[in-house]
Every structure is written in structure tokens, then in C-alpha cells.
């Protein structure tokens, strides 16, 4: 194995880590604030990819499509929170089961609407040519995906750490009842976090499309990865989602490249270790 292999695998890992961050940052915030894993989050990602496919097939501009598809998924997230989860608030087991049911429904609808064949999403024209640096060819699109994920991370950091709304969300993660007790409208924060999380997942689906394709089962492939990220990083922690996403990106890519038979072992072993020794995750405060 030569340099080229390591460099390309590293780049693939960080690009995939970026996609995972778009998926799991929202998943983690929802988990931290509402105390439930939104098991429809993988389906949101897949739906974003399918929306993207259809809009691109109609000749939409790639970046605009990513935004529109993301917002479409975001509206669906609001609907799930407002009209379904809120009806059974306080019943966390019920809520988790409902999100699982919703993910099945979305998967079935996708199968009906987009058939069972994989649908490739074309990357933007300008980014299809590899970038040549020092004689090595780098996949330009993946670099751009990484940059977008980093920009999203900075934006989320600013929102969470430098605004009053972000402080309110963190207060809710720390002690939800007391957050309500000081007048924070926690249920509006639920809606906001759901909008934000599902939109990011939808955008992630579109951006991931040219790398992963849209296909039935994309949801079920992505959701466990988001779960691992949150277990590693800790629910409700943005830093945890960031570190966890790139860690999983590396483990997943190099696991598949170097030891395909052990890829899942490589992925789940650190998760089990963290669960046993650090049940709140590396940066989390919420006991899962």
C-alpha cells in the first residue's frame, strides 16, 4: 500500500465524517434535549437524498436543491414533533416507538415513489474533475462536502454557545424541569431543535447523494452510525457529535478498507467500551 491509498482513505474518512456530522449533530441535540433518540433521523437523511434526486432530475441547481430538500425534510420534522410526539409527551418509550414507526412509513413511501433501484445523484459539474495537488488526484467534491460540514459546525457552535437561544437549549439539556421553571418555553425549543436537526439531516442526504446514492436501506445504514456517534460523543454535546462523527468516519472507512470482515466489530467495539466505562459519552452530560 502506498501513500495514495492512505491519503485517499483519509480524505474519504473526513468527508464521510462531515456527512455524519450533518446527520448526527441534530440527532444529538434532539437526544440531549428531548431525551429520546429520533429513530426517524436516518429516514430523514434518505428522504433528503431522494428529494434531491428528483429536484436535480428536474434540472435544479445543486446547492439550491440541497437547501430546498433540506427545508422540506425540516418541515416534516416539525410535523413529527408538533403533531405526533407532542401528543404523547411524557411517554418517552412511546415516542421512541413512534419515531421508529415513522421511519418505516417513510421507507415504504420512498420505495413506492422511487422504486427499489439505487438512484445516483450527480455532483455539481464544476466539482467532478479531481483536484491535482503535487501530482496526486483528490476528489474535489468530497473536499467541498468537508468544508460545508465544517461551516455548519462553526454555525452551530455560534448558535449554541453565543446566543441566548443556544444557552436556553443547553439549560434544557442540563435540567429540563428547572429550565421550564425559569420561564424558558421548552416546547418551542423542541420544535426549533427538530426543525434544525431534520433540515441538517435532509441537507446531509443531498450532499451525501453523489457519494452514497439514494437507495432503499440508506436510512438503516446511516441510523446506527448516528447512534454510535452520539454514544461516543455524548447526547446533547455539539463537540461530542463533532469528534464522534470524524472518529466514526475513520473507523468505518478504514475498517472497510483494511478488514472488511471486521468492519462492524471495529465500529461497535469502541462504542461498547465507552458505554461500559463512560456511560455519558466523552463529552456528554445526559445519562442515556
Amino acid at each position: 500500500m502506498q501513500w495514495q491509498f492512505w491519503i485517499i482513505q483519509t480524505l474519504n474518512s473526513v468527508a464521510f465524517g462531515g456527512l455524519l456530522f450533518l446527520l448526527s449533530s441534530g440527532f444529538s441535540l434532539i437526544f440531549g434535549l428531548m431525551r429520546i433518540p429520533n429513530l426517524a433521523h436516518g429516514a430523514f437523511f434518505m428522504l433528503g437524498a431522494y428529494f434531491g434526486y428528483s429536484l436535480l432530475a428536474r434540472g435544479g441547481n445543486f446547492w439550491l436543491v440541497a437547501l430546498v430538500a433540506g427545508l422540506g425534510v425540516g418541515l416534516l420534522g416539525i410535523a413529527l414533533e408538533r403533531f405526533v410526539l407532542r401528543q404523547i409527551s411524557g411517554n418517552e418509550q412511546g415516542q421512541v416507538l413512534v419515531t421508529l414507526g415513522v421511519s418505516f412509513i417513510i421507507a415504504d413511501i420512498c420505495l413506492l415513489a422511487w422504486t427499489g433501484d439505487p438512484m445516483p445523484l450527480p455532483a455539481p459539474q464544476a466539482l467532478r474533475r479531481p483536484l491535482i495537488i503535487a501530482g496526486y488526484a483528490f476528489p474535489t467534491y468530497r473536499l467541498v462536502v468537508l468544508v460545508i460540514a465544517l461551516v455548519a459546525a462553526v454555525g452551530l457552535y455560534f448558535l449554541m454557545e453565543r446566543t441566548r437561544i443556544g444557552a436556553m437549549i443547553r439549560a434544557g439539556v442540563d435540567d429540563m424541569e428547572m429550565a421550564r421553571g425559569v420561564g424558558i418555553p421548552v416546547s418551542r425549543l423542541f420544535t426549533l431543535v427538530f426543525l434544525l436537526g431534520s433540515t441538517l439531516a435532509g441537507i446531509g442526504g443531498v450532499l451525501g447523494g453523489p457519494i452514497l446514492n439514494a437507495y432503499p436501506g440508506l436510512d438503516a445504514d446511516m441510523l446506527p452510525l448516528a447512534l454510535i456517534v452520539v454514544i461516543l460523543g455524548g447526547a446533547g454535546s455539539l463537540l461530542g457529535a463533532f469528534v464522534g462523527s470524524f472518529a466514526v468516519g475513520f473507523l468505518y472507512n478504514f475498517g472497510i478498507a483494511l478488514a472488511p470482515d471486521l468492519a462492524y466489530f471495529v465500529l461497535f467495539l469502541p462504542m461498547v467500551l465507552v458505554l461500559v466505562f463512560l456511560p455519558q459519552g466523552l463529552f456528554g452530560r445526559v445519562q442515556l
Binding site: 444557552a167 443547553r170 435540567d175 429550565a179 425559569v182 420561564g183 424558558i184
Partner: protein, 243 residues
């Protein structure tokens, strides 16, 4: 008993449960504007449960809670807080990962009600607690117990309370900090703040209170004037003494 002037807080016939366990049985008491009501009772008597029910953390099964004549029983806690009931909870319950400044910021509510007054702002809270100002950028989880208690009081004041609920603000504090907390409460009362004070420190409570309600296993067993109770050893030893 209702006076002509509206009561600041009127609790009437409250029944509250944790699951199946019936904790409050027809609890009633009244806080008049600008006064301090001491709510006393032994460990496990139901004092915190009263606070939690008034705050909306626990929904009363029976009875009514009114704030300056407005029914607030059964509302959501954030609505109740925005209407002007602010709690200094037992155990302080800071937002541990937020800084001191953020803890105050998230709890800020506009001043309300006709009485006006200057209203509480972060600057005024920092004037009241200079220690908090020094530590404004520190995360709350790293503060000492006394500092956390001051932050809990400051956070409640940021809500510009019409009624301030304080649940054992002296618990677990060193004597000179207890004295400081006592001075602060006296100062708030002097400014006209209506307060319900839950305390195990009977001496402190009877010094500060105008009126007293004593609760025992979820039932109000005595109501009266604080001065009268101070002089009545029988009541103190019967309902509050340690056996």
C-alpha cells in the same frame, strides 16, 4: 380566608400525588402582598411538594392556586414562571454547564405589574452579589455551595418575581453564608417582595417571617403570626422539634 386586597398567592385545598402516593391533603395558605410567609415542617412533610405544585412541576389533582387573583393552577411551569412566580429550588439546581452570566440571562423576564420599581437586571443582581460578578464567566458547576445559592437566588430575581418561592436557601451552607442569605432575604422583603420561605432553620425563618404555616405529613396543622409562634414553645416542639 380572602381579604379585600388581593392576595399575592392563595393556595386553597390542594391535593397532590406522586404517582399513587398521596402527598398533599387539602393544603391551604395565603401570602399577602409584600409579606413573608414561612412554610415550616419536618423532613418529608411535603414542603418541596408544595413548591413544586405551585410552580407547576406537579399538577394538583384538587384545589386552586391563584396569583394576585389570577388562577394559575394546572398551567405549564414556563407559563407560571412568566406570570411571575419564581423559584429558588431546594438543592439549587443550577444549569451546571452554563456560565454564571448565562444562568442569569436565560431566566430574564421583563418586570410586570403596576408596582413598577426599578426591576431586576443582571447589573442589579451583580450589585447584590459582587461574588457572582467576579465569577461571571465561570461555569456554574464549578462554584462553591454558597456561590451556587447566590446564583440560584439571582436567577430567580432575574425573572422579576411577583411572588418569590425559596426552598431551604440556607441548607448545607456555612454559618456566615447563612447569615448573608438571611440579610439578602430581609433586604428583598424590605423592598416589598412577596416571599414564601421554606426553612428547616427555624430560628432564621421565625426571624424573617411575618406569617407562618406549619405542614405535617401533607396537612397544614398550624397557621398564624410568626411572633406568636416564636413565643409558643408548645407549637414549636410539637410540630417542628426533632425527636
Amino acid at each position: 380566608m380572602t381579604n379585600f386586597a388581593t392576595d399575592a398567592l392563595d393556595i386553597a385545598g390542594i391535593d397532590a400525588f406522586y404517582g399513587d402516593s398521596h402527598v398533599l391533603h387539602g393544603v391551604s395558605f395565603t401570602l399577602r402582598p409584600g409579606r413573608l410567609l414561612g412554610l415550616l415542617g419536618r423532613n418529608g412533610a411535603g414542603k418541596t411538594t408544595c413548591m413544586n405544585t405551585i410552580m407547576g412541576f406537579l399538577k394538583p389533582k384538587q384545589g386552586s392556586i391563584s396569583l394576585f387573583g389570577e388562577q394559575v393552577g394546572g398551567l405549564a411551569p414556563d407559563t407560571i414562571a412568566r406570570k411571575g412566580i419564581c423559584l429558588v429550588p431546594q438543592g439549587r439546581r443550577m444549569f451546571r454547564s452554563l456560565t454564571v452570566r448565562e444562568n442569569l440571562m436565560v431566566a430574564a423576564q421583563r418586570a410586570r405589574g403596576p408596582s413598577g420599581g426599578p426591576g431586576w437586571t443582571m447589573d442589579r443582581v451583580f450589585d447584590l452579589f459582587p461574588r457572582l460578578k467576579e465569577r461571571h464567566a465561570q461555569v456554574a458547576g464549578s462554584l462553591s455551595g454558597g456561590e451556587q445559592q447566590m446564583l440560584a437566588i439571582g436567577r430567580a430575581l432575574m425573572g422579576n418575581p411577583r411572588v418569590l418561592l425559596m426552598d431551604e436557601p440556607s441548607e448545607g451552607l456555612a454559618p456566615q453564608i447563612v447569615a448573608e442569605v438571611g440579610r439578602i432575604i430581609a433586604q428583598l422583603k424590605a423592598e416589598g417582595q412577596s416571599i414564601v420561605l421554606v426553612e428547616q432553620n427555624i430560628k432564621l425563618a421565625l426571624e424573617l417571617a411575618d406569617d407562618v404555616a406549619i405542614i405535617n405529613t401533607g396537612v397544614v396543622v398550624h397557621k398564624g403570626d410568626a411572633k406568636a409562634i416564636k413565643l409558643d414553645d408548645a407549637i414549636v416542639s410539637q410540630h417542628l422539634g426533632v425527636f
